[in-house]
Symmetry: C2
Subunit: 305 residues, 2 copies
């Protein structure tokens, strides 16, 4: 089944305790699409870049089965740019630069063929832009997932709640789940967030894994402990891309399959952080991915007597 991905395609400059990467490829939609491309070859990307974005990068996405009809390239424009520096413990980061550039005029127009995508991943963007995408869908979707962040909760909570109401799945981190619900317990937060609309909630906890909530059901996926985390940038988007790519390819939204999809997303995220930018994500093989997914199974396996 086809997957529609919306979000930023951008440049990043990143500094971590392990090194620097200047003006490398980034953006939520880029990470989502690359991660999903290991599972499905029927992806529609909707985003906006400037003329400065390398054609070779777009060619690489197309060669992965990503349809770029919905990518607007602004003549003479500059692509969205983000610069950040991670703290010594990698658990926090400071944003140094946010240049919206062409993103400030983003007015997503879905190609006709993308409007019936059965799976939709709305990357983190202004809630009203996310809503504008929903307005154009034909209503035949099986799963619409939305990613957002605390920034929108701080400045546009009403808009955000209006768009959250319209999706099936929300993906946020643990602090954001607490902020959105006003509850410290994630179990209670999940109940409140279900009442806002989404029947599925994925709480991302970074190095501590992820939780999937659906009705009374709860699933805890660990994160893979790694010898080296070089760069956490894009890990959440990569998780979402792997998750939605897996769902689109299997076209099965049973809880059992959603759990496998969470493991697929966690596996992709674990690769993402092992190098800067998309460096590692671009070079994976399916056997590496399957082996990492099996590694998750081994990591948590125990038998009760």
């Amino acid at each position: 089944m086809s997957l529609l991905t919306i979000g930023t395609v951008a440049f990043d400059s990143i500094e971590t305790p392990y090194g620097k990467a200047e003006m490398v490829i980034g953006g939520a939609c880029t990470y989502i699409s690359w991660a999903a491309s290991y599972f499905t070859k029927d992806i529609h990307l909707v985003s906006i870049v400037g003329e400065d974005f390398p054609k070779s990068e777009l060619d690489a996405l197309e060669s992965r089965g990503v349809n770029l009809e919905g990518l607007e390239i602004v003549k003479g424009g500059k692509s969205f740019f983000w610069a950040g520096k991670y703290h010594l413990n990698m658990n926090g980061r400071d944003t140094l630069v946010t240049d919206l550039n062409v993103l400030s005029d983003f007015n997503p127009i879905l190609p006709e063929v993308a409007k019936s995508s059965k799976y939709v991943m709305l990357g983190n963007l202004t809630p009203n832009i996310q809503a504008q995408v929903l307005d154009q869908l034909d209503g035949s979707q099986k799963m619409i997932a939305l990613d957002t962040m605390n920034f929108w909760m701080d400045i546009a909570m009403d808009d955000l709640k209006n768009v959250i109401k319209r999706v099936n799945l929300l993906t946020i981190n643990d602090d954001e789940a607490r902020q959105l619900s006003g509850e410290h317990s994630l179990v209670k937060a999940a109940k409140i967030i279900h009442e806002l609309g989404p029947e599925y909630l994925v709480i991302k906890k970074g190095e501590h894994g992820a939780l999937l909530f659906h009705g009374e059901e709860m699933f805890y996926a660990p994160a893979m402990p790694l010898a080296q985390v070089f760069d956490p940038t894009g890990a959440g988007d990569t998780f979402a891309g792997g998750f939605m790519g897996y769902l689109a390819s299997t076209n099965d939204i049973s809880m059992d399959n959603m759990k496998r999809a969470i493991i697929a997303g966690s596996s992709m995220a674990s690769f993402c952080v092992e190098d800067f930018s998309l460096n590692k994500l671009k070079l994976l093989s399916l056997s590496e991915i399957n082996s990492r997914m099996k590694g998750f199974k081994d990591l948590i396996h125990f038998d009760l007597l």
Copy 2:
């Protein structure tokens, strides 16, 4: 097999966002012993209290199979007292009062019968006191576990390393593992800590679960997401007590059984935090514990295709 537990038996005053508990029963050794008593009835407790410690509490421990021959009761003395206040998010706490009282003269003397205990849990104490206990053991132990904290790393790192060298298993939290090893990656930290002596390492991550490291093997146990965490005090000690109680009762230190023991410890800790002090820990049934352990299995279960 018999389990020897060493540590504090004390009074606590606790304030959390959900309420206050004044001068309630606390202490590492108390939590360890109560948690272990659901798995084994052959426990030797070594600690020190003042005359102010309620006889009814000691009777209750004895009725759980805890031998108190090694508990020194100081005539006219006052028991160790700790007061703390948890932050709004429950992830941090401030110590308000630490009155060592009789603990400052603690000179643990093992009863003859306890020296051959096959399982030993050294609760968090001055490293030199922990070493003094090791000096009295007869050398026939199958598993000696040691709990400690950042405080001793700050002021007595050499003493701590000397005692860590002599135990089979170390249990600390993730920040402490990073401090002890100087490595941010827990995978790398585990390798360095193995080189310090212990062939097993348990890293406690509170609401994010626990990791067990042994050689190249790694096991990730989640924490149970709970609707209400009333009081995290004693959760780490309860975890250790459940873990060591399970090992002592099964007398099997294969990796497969160690994993079950981690789940037993995690289950006991999940009950501990659901009420103040030992309130919930004192009232459990084996069927509740088995059902919680099964709950952990369900929480993480997934099948790969």
